[in-house]
Amino acid sequence: MPPLPLAGLRVIDLGVVLAGPQGAMLLADLGAEEVRVESCQYFAPSTRGFLARPPKALIQSMAPISGGYPDREPGERPWNRYPWFNATARNKLGMTADLRRPEGLAAVRRLVAVSDVLITNQAPGVMRGLGLGYDAVAQVNDQLVYVDASPYGSTGPYRDHRAYGTQMEASAGHDLLRTYPDADLTSNSWAVPSDGAGGLAVAYAALLGLAAREHTGSGQYVELSMVENLLTLLGPHLMELAAGGRHPGSLGNRDRHAIQGCYPAAGEDRWLVLTVPDDAAWDRLARLVGRPDWAGLAGPARYARHDEVDAAIAAWTAVRPVGDGVAALRAAGVLAGPVLDDRDAMADPHLAEREFFVEIEHADAGRHRYPGPPFRLRGAGFTVRYPPVRLGEHNAIVYGDLLGYAPDEIAELTRAGHIGEAYAPEVP
């Protein structure tokens, strides 16, 4: 098997929350050796959990996406069991250092000297405050590609604004493009498309920096605004508005021209979606749902009766198991599929055959299946070289083998709390 594309390159992951760690993980999946830098003295908000040691009752009261620790138990080291974090943490080595003390900073500077990429999405100003701003880092290693992701970018009036994914989505105008057409945004659930896309863009930014280095022979500062990145994914909407001054706003689940929607299936909270691609599929659908008189209606005529059409489709789908409904619709030439919940997705036969999920044994979380990368390299493949990284898991390898610290230095750094595998007792 050919080597992974980025084999031989080293990446420093100073990411927090979702996008930074995710972007770094994609580079690791592509073969880079990755060192995640954390601190036992500082608990980054919303990264390895919302608290270092959350009470059991609290996590059990939360929705699974935030409180879904293994078996709903915080365990002895909850920070190694948080699902959000562990979704973005495979294939990394982990080291700890207190960046706010000189010996910790010195260790990271030694790591900078032997690395190719640094990734950060720390809040504006944090890296410079630590002495790890681009100028300081470039003095140590001018070959380094420094990826700085932030909500609004490093210039402009909002450059210091703080934002999580929900603020970034609001800034980019997406909330108002995904409401129920008959209700305001408060009836919808939260989403963080800026993080989803931001993690990908962080990885792309690093790759662009590496490509540029082949031309220029040196590293550089690479800036990414996660709001702007989400806007690039909404490009056609912005272009349409600017060209004509009009945009229909949210259509909910509808298309602009084709019959399309989400319909109930038999059972508790089961749903399917469909799109009618052409006249032939429409005619067959009309007969299927018991309205043969609708066959032959042209596109605009059937679209004008969308509410009535929806009611007829829903009456037909609601009495059938979702799989039966989807199969019958597909046989009629309608584009259809089930709305898969997480359980359905994990049991899906197509994903099983493509080995999308990977089973990983984790010392603190146990053995579970995880979603794999969003791509498949048919030549070089994909392997889990390391399970989701535990706090300080590879301090011995990183300090000893990679950075060349002597055993007595390592002992001293351990005594001083830089090297460790648990948050300091005073960390909330």
Binding site: P70, A205, L241, R256, F375
Partner: protein
């Protein structure tokens, strides 16, 4: 012209539709020479609305114009052997070939795997190049329903809800670009070709916009994500103001900052924990927001270090002073119509990107590109007469 990150790189874009096209655009924005190949009738995406107000034709599809900006374009019939010969010449000089035909189509056209052994081939498809769903036709909402966290999006007593149209396809394109550029660097480093297989469904399953996280949480605790009303948090996620809503996040640790920001005699110093105290606070909060506009609330809260942003409309975004200050939008003239493009989101200090040109007219660069391949003008003319180009 300044050197860009991907200067000198050649990309051949055989894709149809949106996801593959956006992946290829992400190379054009950072300096690669991207040539889009379209069938004689044009990319089917040229027929998808919305259209520019005065151009309801092949040159007016907004999704096509956005996803193909920055590229050159040629018209080529891959169904004819003479057209395929041109394609082979183009493939041989390319570092990356992007395609999004139905799986198996390239081989059927006689453009088999051996042709791509030394290059990077990016295949973008609905469900991937193999597996039981490989040939299942799908629309964007079907891919979203099967791949993304649609099940957990919306209100608990209503149907699951979509996101903005095209967002999923653009997201898949960005995912594909990451893998493809990684593979291109791998080819430069190790001399190895690669076939990158991107399933749009899988890009959505791997998204950390809740889906990948909720899949891990499900594996951990056995409970899938559901559509749930946000718990009555102390500060609601969306709060109404005079001119719309703001999105605010306040953690318990930030409570003192909020007290300082509101500066209101009825807001208690300590974090309210009793329901009555929380309710009293929310009354103050609602009226404080209702007296201000979005910009005013955002200014005060940000000054105190609390994450807050206005819930913007597209028109707000279009007129945003911050984006203007950063020169984010790129306005380009295309046949007398000025098109506004979202600019490249990644800014490389030493090797800047951009949008070098608007999307090509159908066949706009056929002569130019075939000339570069060494085809004499008479041969190009003969191919044109035969309807091949």
């Amino acid at each position: 012209m300044a050197l860009s990150a991907l200067s000198g790189m050649r990309v051949l874009d055989l894709s149809v539709g949106i996801a593959g096209a956006f992946a290829a655009k992400l190379f054009a924005c950072y300096g690669a020479d991207v040539v889009k190949v379209e069938r004689p009738a044009g990319d089917p995406a040229r027929g998808w609305g919305p259209f520019l107000p005065d151009r309801p034709d092949l040159e007016g599809s907004v999704p096509f114009l956005d996803a193909n900006a920055g590229k050159r374009g040629i018209r080529l019939d891959l169904g004819d052997p003479r057209g395929r010969a041109v394609a082979v010449d183009l493939i041989r000089r390319s570092d990356l070939v992007v395609e999004s035909f139905a799986p198996g189509t390239l081989a059927r056209l006689g453009l088999g795997a051996e042709l791509f052994a030394d290059t990077v081939l990016l295949s973008v498809s609905n469900f991937g190049q193999d597996g039981p769903y490989r040939d299942v036709p799908a629309s964007e909402i079907v891919l979203y329903a099967m791949g993304h966290e649609m099940y957990g999006t919306g209100a608990p007593d209503r149907e699951p809800l979509s996101v903005a149209p095209l967002l999923n396809l653009y997201f898949a394109g960005l995912s594909a670009a990451v893998a493809a550029l990684g593979a291109v660097l791998g080819r430069r480093r190790h001399g190895t070709g690669e076939h990158v297989d991107v399933s749009i469904m899988e890009t959505l399953l791997a998204s950390i916009d809740r889906r990948a996280d909720s899949l891990v949480a499900y594996a951990y605790c056995g409970e899938p994500m559901r559509r749930e009303r946000a718990a009555a948090s102390l500060v609601p996620g969306y709060s109404p103001c005079r001119d719309g809503h703001v999105a605010v996040s306040v953690s318990p640790a930030q409570w003192p900052r909020l007290v300082a920001a509101l500066g209101h005699p009825d807001v208690p110093g300590p974090l309210p924990t009793e329901p009555a105290a929380a309710q009293a606070f929310r009354r103050v909060w609602r009226s404080w927001c209702a007296q201000r506009d979005r910009a005013g609330v955002t200014e005060v809260l940000q000054r105190h270090g609390i994450p807050c942003a206005p819930v913007n409309s597209l028109a707000d975004v279009d007129a945003d002073p911050h984006l203007a200050d950063r020169g984010f939008f790129v306005d380009l003239d295309r046949d007398g119509t000025v098109l506004r493009h979202a600019g490249p989101a990644i800014r490389l200090a030493g090797t800047p990107g951009g949008i070098p040109r608007p999307a090509p007219r159908l066949g706009e660069h056929t002569d130019e590109v075939l000339g570069e391949l060494g085809y004499p003008a008479a041969d190009v003319a003969a191919l044109r007469t035969a309807g091949i180009v």
